[in-house]
Symmetry: C2
Subunit: 292 residues, 2 copies
């Protein structure tokens, strides 16, 4: 089965590498430069101190023609708008489009992609791109995948990869909201305070700050079983105690963060529901102001 | 005229140096070690790239006997409680006690010092202590002084120092609240965001954050003429554009900050008046959590 992956960032490279185990994968990059490097040297994956390399098909995105049975879209949420325009024009009606973006602010845009089978995901891998063709896979996790609209037409083989588990979820909203709540608490706090995930529960004052922020966010999202959600956040902080969140890394590299798809979405929800969100707004401004 | 200065920090050393121009000053330090260094080598003042040195009288605080006409108290707000106990026991009834602490949370403690002439100040000098007997005076400013309780019994000569202006103010509350509002906005934001004062007005998002925080703080303090206060804050950010606030410096050195006397006071006021203070509370927790 042919699979397309659009986007040569850390997640695009990771999916290209692992899915090539079982499928005929073509990676579509934004730049010709990156396509050339990968064509010549393949993708290098650094995992547990070992470097493995694999040759893959690679083209630039303008060569994408909706030929593959499944297309994974692995660009950042803030690059999605321009891409969706092009996708809409070229995509076949019965195409399977799998979106790997964080947060929930892209869902509204996806609704406009009528007549297609659209899936959304939560990616729980730790990975960063260390060169044009190298991805460091430093956190083993799984990918949740759920149908967002259209029909479920993915083959079961996609959910049977030994080294790269993809788990099918029945309720996309439940799946995404869990990830959103976790990201809305851990990412902004660790990025602003410049601490590892574990500090959020180890430091008494930071823990109180996390509680305050959670109360505001969970009210806006009208979460049921709030305690359960907060326990989940604490558990993740414990399990990933020494990790530096993606937002903290982005801030340290003065890169654009994914704050718009996380707290940005929550602020939109607050606005829509006419709920005050003073803490989320302040943290949003702190992070937007730090982006260059 | 004899003057006592209690506290060998940056402000204590600064006042000892400059007041010695005109008065017979004795500095009272907490540690014998510092007293020995100053007795041997005097106080060194670094100002505009020049280093000047001056011999001064120095004793340890337990030798203070309420002998001087005026005693300046230059310890940090968080060291005041223990000191006030000792002061109360030894101070003469007609003593002049001048307090140099930032913020307003010490006022309640000062009310207990009955039968004394109590004055409070706003110190607008930039200074830091670079060794036990060296103070770097890197921001020329003035000292506001107002009567807090008792009678005004300070000699006019105190307000006539050429190189170290002390300005008498009629309304201590108005004087302190102005400084408090400035500190409540500039100090926490610069300390958390790790930026110079000017960034608060240059960075669009930080400026919006400052506005949000100001709205909350000014409501709690029930300020009249809010616009005037906010203009003053902006003007100070402009004038001290390249400065790093004292709280930012304290955070970078992992030292205790003065957050309790600034946002701590505002949170107490909010609590007393039953007003919500979500932003102040969050920033307070961020800074308390960073103190070691």
């Amino acid at each position: 089965m042919k699979i397309a992956i659009i986007g040569g960032g850390s997640i695009g490279l990771l999916f290209t590498y692992y899915l090539s185990d079982a499928f005929d994968v073509t990676l579509y990059t934004r730049t010709l430069q990156q396509a050339k490097v990968i064509k010549k040297s393949g993708i290098e994956l650094v995992c547990n101190g070992e470097t493995k390399s694999r040759k893959v098909h690679v083209k630039t995105f303008d060569q994408w023609k909706s030929e593959e049975a499944i297309t994974f879209v692995a660009v950042k949420q803030y690059h999605l708008s321009t891409l969706l325009h092009k996708l809409k024009d070229k995509a076949e009606d019965d195409i399977n489009l799998v979106f790997l973006q964080n947060g929930m602010s892209h869902l509204q845009q996806l609704e406009e992609l009528r007549n297609k089978n659209i899936y959304v995901c939560t990616v729980e891998h730790g990975a960063f791109k260390s060169s044009a063709n190298t991805v460091v896979h430093n956190g083993q996790g799984q990918t949740g995948l759920a149908l967002f609209q259209g029909d479920m037409k993915l083959p079961s083989s996609l959910f049977a990869l030994q080294n790269f588990p993809i788990v099918f979820k029945l309720d996309y909203y439940e799946m995404l909201i869990r990830k959103l709540v976790v990201n809305a608490i851990i990412n902004p706090l660790t990025a602003i305070l410049k601490v590892t995930n574990g500090e959020i529960i180890r430091n008494k004052q930071y823990f109180m700050a996390a509680q305050q922020l959670f109360i505001e966010v969970s009210d806006i999202l009208e979460l049921e079983n709030k305690e359960g959600y907060f326990e989940m956040i604490c558990e993740i902080c414990l399990k990933t105690s020494e990790n530096r969140s993606s937002m903290l890394k982005d801030m340290e590299l003065s890169q654009q963060t994914e704050i718009d798809s996380i707290l940005g979405y929550i602020l939109e929800e607050a606005h829509r529901k006419k709920i005050q969100a003073p803490i989320s707004e302040m943290l949003y401004l702190f992070i937007k102001g730090s982006e260059r």
